[in-house]
Structures are given as structure tokens and as C-alpha cells.
Amino acid sequence: MKRTLALALLISLPAAAQNAEAQKALTRFTELRPGDDDLAMYRLDWADDLAEAQKRASKEKRPVLLVVIHAKYGDMITGHC
């Protein structure tokens, strides 16, 4: 009986490449990885610095949005400041 049940389970479950712990870790990765809505600032066309932004704006005839931060350090592109 037990053997039949085990065989039935084996057939009904899809073959997982990873063991249970790794599967759990991958599920958690999917749950925690930020989605596009959370990463909306990466929809913007960022330039590395003001000189590059103005050079591109002039060449491509586009406006510039400049964010000015009164602080010694900060990196808007990564978010670390």
C-alpha cells in the first residue's frame, strides 16, 4: 500500500530540479525581488553627470530634469546616500 502511494506521489509531482530548501529559497527570491512598479525610477533616462546630460540634451534636442541636492554625498542612481 505504502509503495503504491509513494509511486502515485512520484508520478503526480512535477520533477523539481532543486531540493526543497533550494526551492524555498527561489520562491522567496521571487516574492522579494522588486517588480517594475517598485523600480519606476529606472524608467527614466539617467545621465551620469550634468555635463553629460547637457551634452546629450543639446545633441538630441531634449530637455533636462536636474535634481539638485544640498548635501556632500549621494547617488540618486543607486539610491545610496
Binding site: 532543486q18 530548501e21 527570491f29 522579494l32 553627470d49 536636474l66 539638485v68 544640498h70 539610491g79
Partner: protein, 279 residues
């Protein structure tokens, strides 16, 4: 509303040398003595035309008066403040109705690198939703860095410090109490402690998998008693004996201090391998 724009940030102090002309123009108005002085945030936004001429400027978080006490705008009011100013700038520039936004394009591989680990970090501070916006860092990886994660034949113990280059990028942005009070520079994460286990975690065809897991404690260059800990779980995928993929998480608690006392918040890190996009 920003599809047509090149976007950039600049930071500095009023006593810095070589402040760009446009910043001087913005700050000349911002710091002009008069009514409203002292009620501004430290962030301004401005729109320039293609020739670099200032079209519109605004305080990024204009304080509003609530019972006489100025407070920064938040949530929908803050978004509305930006929308209104951008709409005016668009009108001045003759841009018409905004089109569909661009697709998300995350920071990719730095020039001259073949692979990297991308790190997303979030601090779940309900009182400060900005901390929940993910910080995204990309850490270049060399062959010897991947060799630390070589496919294990049996469970192997590894020190968390071996993975400091990418673990060290997992700290929240804007945490002022972890900033050097003299230089104003954010402390670097300089220590990773904990015994991790890298163990085989399955096979599928020519693919092999391993799981790297364990508790990690991180410390920074600010010293003192400060540290934060959490559980690291990383699945490594191998093809032909070489690392072909990596997906992982860190779930821990991050202590913050304020004049009102200390509190801990959930911190999450997410890690993924980055390789050149297929052509």
C-alpha cells in the same frame, strides 16, 4: 511625464568650488533672504531646455504649513506637487501630452566587466516609505570571485567575509545616524561574519544546483556596537561545472537610533547574477 527628458542629479554645498551655473541660479533664488526662508528642503528640481536654459524650478518637497509648523509634503500631495510643476514645464517647452513611460532599465554591467551581482536592498520603515524604495547596486565579479562558489561535491563551510564585496552593498540609503559627522560620508560596511554552508541542492540534466545559507552579521566603519544580522539563502546554478546563475535573499533586522530611542526594522536584500544581454 519624463519620457522625453534626460534626467540627472547633482549634489554639493554652497561653499563648494565650481558650482554649475544653473545650480548657482537655483540656489540664488532658494537662499534669498525674505519670507519663507528656512522652510525649504535640501532638494530642488529644475527643468532646462535643450540649450541649458532654466525653464522652471521648484523645491522638491515644499514644506506646507500645518498649524503654523512647516512640514514636508508626503504621499499624494508630494506627487501632485511634482506633477503640477512638470505639467507647467512641459507646457512651456511645448511638449504636448506625455507618452507611455519607458521600460525599466536597471543598472547593468560596468564597462569592461563580464559578470556581476546585482543587489537590491529595502528597509521596511513604515514611517518613512522612501526607505522601502529599493536601493540597487551592481558589484562586478571576477573569475576568482565565482571560484569561491565552485560546485560542491559535499557540504562545505565558508566564511561570510569571503562574500563581503556584494554583502557590503546591502545597507539602506539615507540612514543619517550611520554617517561620519565630520565628513558627512556614509559609513562603509566593512565586516561580514558568520559560518555559511554551501551544499549540493539538486541536479537537472546538465544543470547542478547548490545552496549557500546561514546567518550573517554585518558591521560598518563607524564602529561602536552597531551591527545587523539576518539569514542568507542563495541558490547557485552550474552548467558545465561553472556558475551559470545565482538568485538569493537576505532577511534580517536593522537597528536605527534617534533622539527618541532605538528601533529595529526589517531589512531585505535580493541578489541576482548579471551577465551581458544576449545579442
Amino acid at each position: 511625464m519624463l519620457k522625453e527628458f534626460v534626467v540627472v542629479s547633482w549634489h554639493g554645498h554652497r561653499d563648494d568650488k565650481d558650482i554649475p551655473e544653473v545650480v548657482q541660479e537655483v540656489w540664488a533664488a532658494k537662499f534669498k533672504p525674505g519670507p519663507g526662508g528656512g522652510q525649504q528642503s535640501n532638494v530642488d528640481a529644475c527643468v532646462l531646455d535643450a540649450q541649458g536654459k532654466l525653464v522652471r524650478k521648484w523645491d522638491a518637497m515644499t514644506p506646507r504649513k500645518s498649524g503654523g509648523r512647516p512640514e514636508p509634503l508626503t504621499g499624494g500631495a508630494l506627487a501632485g506637487h511634482w506633477r503640477d510643476n512638470l505639467a507647467e514645464a512641459r507646457k512651456t517647452l511645448g511638449l504636448g501630452e506625455p507618452g507611455e513611460p519607458r521600460p525599466v532599465k536597471l543598472p547593468g554591467l560596468p564597462e569592461g566587466t563580464d559578470s556581476a551581482i546585482r543587489v537590491f536592498t529595502r528597509l521596511n520603515d513604515k514611517g518613512m516609505p522612501a526607505y522601502y524604495a529599493p536601493v540597487v547596486e551592481v558589484v562586478p565579479m571576477e573569475t576568482e570571485d565565482w571560484a569561491l562558489l565552485a560546485v560542491p561535491a559535499k557540504p562545505a563551510k565558508l566564511e561570510a567575509s569571503a562574500f563581503l564585496p556584494w554583502l557590503s552593498k546591502m545597507f539602506p540609503g539615507g540612514v543619517m545616524e550611520r554617517t561620519d559627522q565630520v565628513t558627512k560620508k556614509v559609513y562603509d560596511v566593512t565586516g561580514a561574519k558568520g559560518e555559511l554552508l554551501l551544499e549540493p541542492a539538486g541536479v537537472k540534466g546538465e544543470l547542478k544546483f547548490a545552496l549557500l545559507h546561514g546567518n550573517v552579521t554585518l558591521t560598518d566603519s563607524g564602529g561602536g556596537e552597531f551591527s545587523y544580522s539576518g539569514e542568507l539563502s542563495v541558490v547557485v546554478e552550474y552548467r558545465g561545472g561553472k556558475v551559470a546563475g545565482l538568485k538569493g535573499t537576505f532577511e534580517g533586522r536593522y537597528p536605527r537610533t534617534s533622539p527618541q530611542g532605538g528601533r529595529e526594522f526589517d531589512i531585505t536584500g535580493v541578489f541576482e547574477r548579471v551577465v551581458p544581454a544576449a545579442r
